[in-house]
């Protein structure tokens, strides 16, 4: 694929692999995942704990622990292939310039002994050469105003703020360099419903007014719909389904996605809640064939073989049930990334 193909893409991920080395084996946290994300869109990555979604977020921003056994694939951000870059170049030119991250438990990720203005300003001072303190401060004011942190808070320390306010500050920090993509890892899981809705309002405004793209990693399917343009369902390190949100929330395709949706408590409607029996497989030695087969009510003999990814219109699903209806089998990472959004 050539550079031009990516002109409307904020992020293209091809065949991303991230394995960790443990004392008793290798954990296959992210196993050959491919997708792409158009500019000014948001993809939601959903799945149970331990399905590899946080690892994928870390792989995208290359914030990796020491025990990485394998890290491969291609990640194009704004048309630029970043996997080939060395760490120093990546740090200077990509991280926080093109892609920034709001980490899990972000509320507690602020430095307790620095004033808010100093920590929010830091990415600017590091990444925009020649910017003066005054200009940087101006930008902090602007971004605080945008995410709804009151004027006077700029001189405060993190402990003086409520959880929701701290979350806004962390979002401001990710936003201040105007990156193409922001990776959000469980941005609201520790917050109250009203605060949660407020944070999503802020994120929507960032998307609509600044044109930022988002990768939203969460286990909370219901609130993720607040931001979702596309939905990517992960299970045991693999991508099980990738669909536009309108189609996904109307009817998920993959049996795992269906069961996950049936487990979401809803305020309206009278359906009985369902749960998924069993537990996800160990990523140390994932089962052969379809990884969900052991818990799947539709499992057939064929599921002993690993299903390919089938394309149904603009949706992708990794399940043998759709063998007949599907338009085609998509196997190359380039094509997989090409289909989505």
């Amino acid at each position: 694929m050539t550079f031009e193909d990516f002109s409307d893409k904020a992020l293209v991920v091809e065949d991303l692999v991230l394995y960790f080395q443990l004392t008793h084996g290798i954990v296959q946290a992210v196993d050959h995942v491919s997708f792409s994300l158009a500019k000014n869109r948001a993809v939601v990555v959903i799945g149970e704990s331990g399905c590899g979604k946080t690892s994928m977020g870390r792989a995208l921003t290359r914030l990796l622990p020491r025990n990485v056994a394998r890290y491969s694939g291609k990640v194009y951000i704004d048309g630029l292939e970043t996997m080939a870059l060395d760490e120093e170049t990546y740090r200077q030119q990509i991280r926080w310039v093109k892609i920034s991250q709001v980490p899990q438990a972000a509320m507690n990720s602020l430095n307790p002994v620095l004033k808010l203005k100093d920590q929010v300003m830091e990415p600017l001072l590091l990444h925009e050469k020649g910017i003066t303190q005054e200009e940087a401060l101006e930008r902090v004011h602007a971004v605080f105003d945008f995410v709804g942190v009151p004027e006077g808070f700029i001189e405060r320390y993190p402990f003086e703020l409520s959880g929701g306010m701290r979350q806004r500050v962390v979002i401001a920090m990710a936003l201040i360099t105007n990156p193409t993509v922001i990776v959000l890892d469980e941005p609201t899981s520790a917050l109250d419903v009203l605060t949660q809705a407020n944070i999503y309002n802020v994120l929507k405004r960032i998307k609509w007014e600044k044109g930022t793209s988002f990768v939203l990693i969460t286990h909370d399917v219901a609130t993720s719909s607040e931001l979702a343009d596309d939905v990517l369902v992960m299970y045991a390190g693999q991508m099980m389904e990738h669909s536009p949100a309108t189609e996904f929330f109307a009817e998920p395709l993959h049996p795992y996605a269906k069961m996950l949706m049936a487990a979401v408590p809803k305020l309206h409607g009278d359906e009985e809640l369902q749960f998924i029996p069993g537990k996800p497989p160990s990523l140390l030695s994932p089962p052969k064939g379809c990884r969900f087969a052991a818990r799947c009510p539709f499992a057939m003999d064929k599921c002993k073989l690993e299903p390919p990814t089938f394309r149904m219109g603009d949706r992708l699903v990794k399940c043998w049930l759709y063998e007949k209806e599907a338009d085609e089998i998509v196997s190359s990472p380039e094509a997989l990334a090409g289909v989505s959004s």
Binding site: V193, L194, A197, E226, F249, A250, A263, P265, L267, L273
Partner: protein, 349 residues
């Protein structure tokens, strides 16, 4: 503690005469925490719970819903007898739990089970599951080792941690989050309590596991005819479990009604805002901003005069809501709401 009070099988015939009386009555409860004094200067109180009253009938599950800092955890601690009320009473089976000293409090706590929010933190990491579940029985004076083991096994079966023999000698970290929470529930139930207090029992769990635990609690509640207080900030899980909802804001119960009534027909502007902020998984959510009341919950040290929600309420009436505290107005059915909008419609409860 006599053996009879902790007997395995509940006797359905006992205390028939008290059936009409609610199991738990909270009367004008105030939990005020005193701020640090400066010499003789009295700095004031944090009014975490302020004039709260309700009844919990036998065998009924209620939910207390509110945001963090609304006082719901203080309310729970007071009901468990962990903090002393500043004012007001907590009556269990008609008796004030603080009457009769330490021995009476011990006897009271034998009848109350508590399910903590975070199973990882609630189970001691150095004890086996067997030891964790035996502990409450030892404290209750069950001396017979065989009987204790039998009850431990039975309670593990009840919460579906099966086969129990596989788990007895395991340590908490060897269990999944869902299994850990089941053990926490087993521990709360092992002394056959009459009342169970569950503080956000599913907020730390995955969606799928969350449903399993909610279903388990529901089953246990029905089978044992337990009274349950379910404390949560998540209105969307409430309707699968409890019969009535109490909405709490800034230390006060502002609305009480049947679960379906609240969900379908919220009266208080705060309840309305709370319901409006919850998303069902629908694609159109992404196309519009949600309406959220401005501002944040008030300080509990100097709460606003009148209705505590009035600074954020778009329907606030000047000269009324910011002056006088609204009483609870009773509307049709069992719907009670503390809001001046319903002054004409309802009558003071």
């Amino acid at each position: 503690m006599s053996e009879q009070q902790v007997a395995v099988t509940a006797q359905p015939g006992e205390e028939k005469d008290t059936q009409e009386q609610p199991l738990l009555s909270v009367r004008n409860l105030r939990i005020w925490y005193e701020l640090k004094r400066f010499g003789f200067l009295h700095a004031g109180y944090v009014k975490a719970v302020d004039d709260v009253s309700f009844d919990l009938p036998r065998g009924e599950a209620i939910a207390v819903v509110g945001e963090s800092g609304c006082g719901k955890s203080s309310l729970m601690k007071a009901i468990l007898g962990l903090v002393h009320p500043y004012d007001g009473q907590i009556l269990f089976e008609g008796r004030d739990i603080w009457e009769g000293g330490a021995e009476a409090m011990r006897a009271y706590r034998m009848k109350v089970g508590y399910v903590q929010q975070d199973p990882y933190g609630a189970l001691p990491p150095f004890m086996t599951i067997r030891r964790i579940l035996e502990e409450p029985l030892i404290l209750a004076g069950v001396k017979d080792k065989e009987e204790r083991l039998e009850r431990v096994i039975r309670s593990l079966e009840e919460v579906k941690v099966t086969p129990p023999s596989d788990f007895l000698n395991k340590y908490p970290h060897m269990l999944s989050g869902g299994q850990q929470q089941r053990v926490v529930i087993a521990r709360a139930l092992i002394r056959n309590p009459k009342m169970l207090i569950a503080d956000e029992p599913v907020s730390m769990l995955d969606a799928s596991v969350r449903v399993e635990i909610l279903k388990l609690l529901d089953e246990v509640q029905r089978e044992r005819h337990l009274s349950v207080i379910y404390i949560t900030h998540d209105l969307s899980t409430v309707r699968y479990f409890s019969e009535r909802i109490f909405v709490m804001y800034a230390g006060k119960l502002i609305e009480k009604a049947e679960t379906y009534e609240i969900l379908r027909n919220p009266k208080h502007p705060y309840t309305w805002a709370l319901l409006n902020a919850i998303s069902d998984p629908l694609a159109e959510n992404a196309t519009k901003l949600r309406e959220i009341p401005p501002g944040e919950p008030p300080s509990l040290i100097t709460p606003p005069p009148g209705c505590r929600f009035h600074p954020r309420c778009e329907k606030a009436m000047q000269g009324k809501c910011d002056v006088e505290v609204p009483p609870e107005f009773r509307l049709g059915g069992n719907h009670e709401v503390a809001c001046w909008l319903y002054e004409e419609e309802g009558r003071v409860a």
